[in-house]
């Protein structure tokens, strides 16, 4: 009788453990991903962008954006606002500890973006595209991991340079 009770206790403990202990849960990466820069669009007061051979320094002033020290056009300002919004929402599709920087295009990055807030500056290096061409490898300052971000951020960067570099229409009147 006591033996049966002991075995029943064993089974009860085992059953309790099975119910209580869960397997390791994998945190889903997609589609939400992991926030990259941790800033709100309103907190951004400046950007330094290098895209290929082009450079741009933008500063948010009370009257709008100043591009390389001079007030930017409304279109450029809108493009910068969009870029800031994209960077604030930017999420990693994947993150992992990678090997050689060359393998991911970080030795010759496509773009480097520095996002300035009042407190600190966050830097994001965008490297090569993945094999599918759907994502870019990226790396943050002080983070040894390699990230993958959607390739759409390149369009926003290009758009800023497009509006900065296009000839200004003559002022009417």
């Amino acid at each position: 009788m006591r033996r049966t009770a002991a075995l029943a206790l064993l089974v009860a403990v085992g059953g309790g453990l099975v119910l209580a202990v869960h397997g390791p849960r994998r945190r889903p990466l997609a589609p939400e991903g992991i926030g990259l820069l941790g800033v709100s669009p309103a907190a951004v007061h400046g950007l330094d962008i290098v895209l290929g051979a082009r450079h741009l320094s933008a500063e948010r002033r009370p009257g709008g954006w100043a591009i390389d020290g001079t007030p930017g056009s409304a279109a450029t300002a809108a493009a910068l606002d969009d870029l800031v919004g994209t960077l604030a929402r930017l999420r990693a599709l994947d993150r992992f500890r990678g090997g050689e920087a060359d393998a991911f295009g970080f030795a010759h990055p496509r773009a480097v973006v520095a996002v300035h807030t009042r407190r600190r500056t966050r830097r994001l290096v965008l490297g090569a595209a993945n094999a599918a061409g759907s994502a870019l490898y990226a790396r943050r300052d002080h983070d040894p991991r390699v990230l993958q971000v959607g390739i759409g951020v390149l369009s926003d960067l290009e758009r800023v340079f497009y509006f900065r570099d296009r000839p200004q229409p003559p002022e009417s009147g």
Binding site: R3, L7, A30, D94, A103, F104, N130, A131
Partner: protein, 459 residues
């Protein structure tokens, strides 16, 4: 005294429980060490095909398999690779996320998701890692160290190697996956390349010139492989060439009104009579037990013995079939009739032959396979019944690639096909009709009548 008994009882319990746990643990260790997989699924869809198993037996040294998958698709490859790894102790398998290891992929020559780098004895081959036949073909290429050359003849209205349901696109793709390099060739361009392995003549509508047949004969004489897929069409020169090898190419059209494929015009010949003990229809004890469908077939048979040629018929139509003397009458759907010289009975439709001097020659003999139909290997019919196995086995034997002869990975026929794979005799079809249209409704009616009568009697 009572305490001692209690202690002894508990000690025994602990000992028994411990023994039980240790015993179960040992069983688990034994199970891990002697991993066996039993596939009870219909069609053995969870097992490697016999062809893959035979290819893996040729791997006698460490073979490294590195597969680069797209994120989210790991499981698809992991399941297949575990079957490969279970089947051969020499396989070392590694699964890598392409996006995480792009430099590794580049260094191995992999350029796309789903590709595998196969390294064996200093050879490196890149092949698709899915489906099974692609990976098997890649392993075979790594083991052999080269692709086999497969030449399709052109210039006589042959079926093209790719494009459209009448082409041999699926067969060509399957052969490419198994390590063949398909290309087209004209027999008028002179001798065939020395390193060619097989020549396929797929459904010529026009006859061959004597010079072309001489080229083909020379290729056979050098130990090459030739596969002739011959639809009913007047080909007197080719017929004479085969006659010289002791084979008879019939100018007829085979029909089988009794064993028809449901939903067809009844012209297709269903072949279920295969000779056993040959590497095409009964490879390594795996006969093509599903039968094959030859949509428009002509007879081809062994006519007589010719020195230096060993030929045998390996497949015949059912005794219920007819060989109609006039193919046009068959195509018009006319009934076979002795008055029109139509011949009832079983007819040979596949012949295999070895050509050239045998016995101790260092060079292998030429291999010839003649099938009295080309449609069966076309895209529209390849995945019906055992057609794929017949076509692939014939090419493999002709090429001397014994490892690839056998049942291949099964493919589920797609919906958009002209045929249903349900094969019924006239009698079976009539029985089904009577059961569905008369017996079943009759039983329901009778049951209703009984219930109505019983209720009426009860008032």
């Amino acid at each position: 005294m009572r305490l001692r008994r209690a202690v002894r009882g508990w000690s025994q319990l602990v000992l028994e429980a411990g023994l039980l746990v240790v015993g179960l643990g040992l069983l688990q260790v034994v199970a891990e060490r002697t991993n066996r997989r039993y596939d009870l699924s219909p069609g053995r869809s969870l097992s490697l095909s016999p062809v893959t198993r035979r290819v893996l037996t040729e791997v006698q040294e460490p073979l490294r398999l590195t597969v680069f998958y797209r994120r989210g698709q790991r499981e698809r490859y992991a399941v297949l690779l575990s079957r490969f790894a279970d089947a051969s102790p020499y396989l070392a398998v590694e699964l890598l996320d392409f996006d995480r290891y792009p430099d590794r992929a580049r260094s191995l020559g992999v350029t796309d998701y789903g590709e595998a780098a196969i390294e064996y004895r200093g050879n490196r081959v890149v092949a698709h890692a899915f489906p099974e036949e692609e990976l098997t073909g890649g392993i075979l290429r790594a083991v052999r160290g080269r692709r086999r050359r497969l030449l399709y003849t052109t210039g006589h209205g042959e079926r093209p190697p790719a494009g459209g349901p009448g082409s041999l696109g699926r067969l060509t793709a399957a052969l490419a996956a198994e390590g063949y390099a398909p290309e087209t060739v004209s027999l008028l361009d002179g001798p065939l390349p020395d390193d060619a392995d097989v020549v396929v003549v797929a459904g010529p509508e026009h006859d061959f010139a004597p010079a072309e047949l001489a080229t083909l004969a020379a290729f056979l004489g050098r130990g090459g492989g030739v596969l002739l897929l011959l639809d009913p069409a007047p080909l007197p020169q080719l017929g004479a060439f085969l006659a010289g090898l002791g084979l008879r190419l019939g100018d007829d059209f085979l029909v089988d009104r009794e064993r028809r494929i449901l939903g067809t015009d009844g012209l297709a010949a269903v072949v279920e009579l295969f000779k056993t003990g040959n590497p095409i229809t009964d490879p390594a004890g795996h006969p093509i037990d599903t039968g094959v469908v030859l949509p428009s077939a002509r007879s081809v048979d062994v006519a007589g013995a010719v020195p230096g040629v060993d030929a045998e018929s390996i497949a015949r139509t059912a005794p219920s079939g007819w060989a109609m003397a006039d193919p046009d009458r068959a195509r018009r759907g006319e009934e076979p009739d002795r008055a029109h010289h139509d011949v009832p009975g079983s007819a040979s439709v596949v012949v295999m032959a070895e050509v050239g001097p045998g016995g101790g020659e260092p060079r292998r003999r030429g291999r010839l396979v003649v099938v009295g139909d080309a449609d069966f290997a076309s895209d529209a019919y390849l995945d019906l019944l055992g057609n794929r196995d017949l076509a692939l086995n014939a090419v493999a034997w002709a090429a001397g690639e014994e490892a690839l002869v056998g049942p291949h990975e099964e493919r589920t026929p797609e919906i958009l096909r002209p045929l249903s794979p349900l094969v019924l005799s006239e009698r079976q079809a009539r029985t089904m009709l009577v059961l569905a249209a008369a017996v079943e409704p009759g039983l329901v009616l009778a049951l209703g009548l009984v219930i109505a009568v019983v209720r009426r009697r009860r008032g």
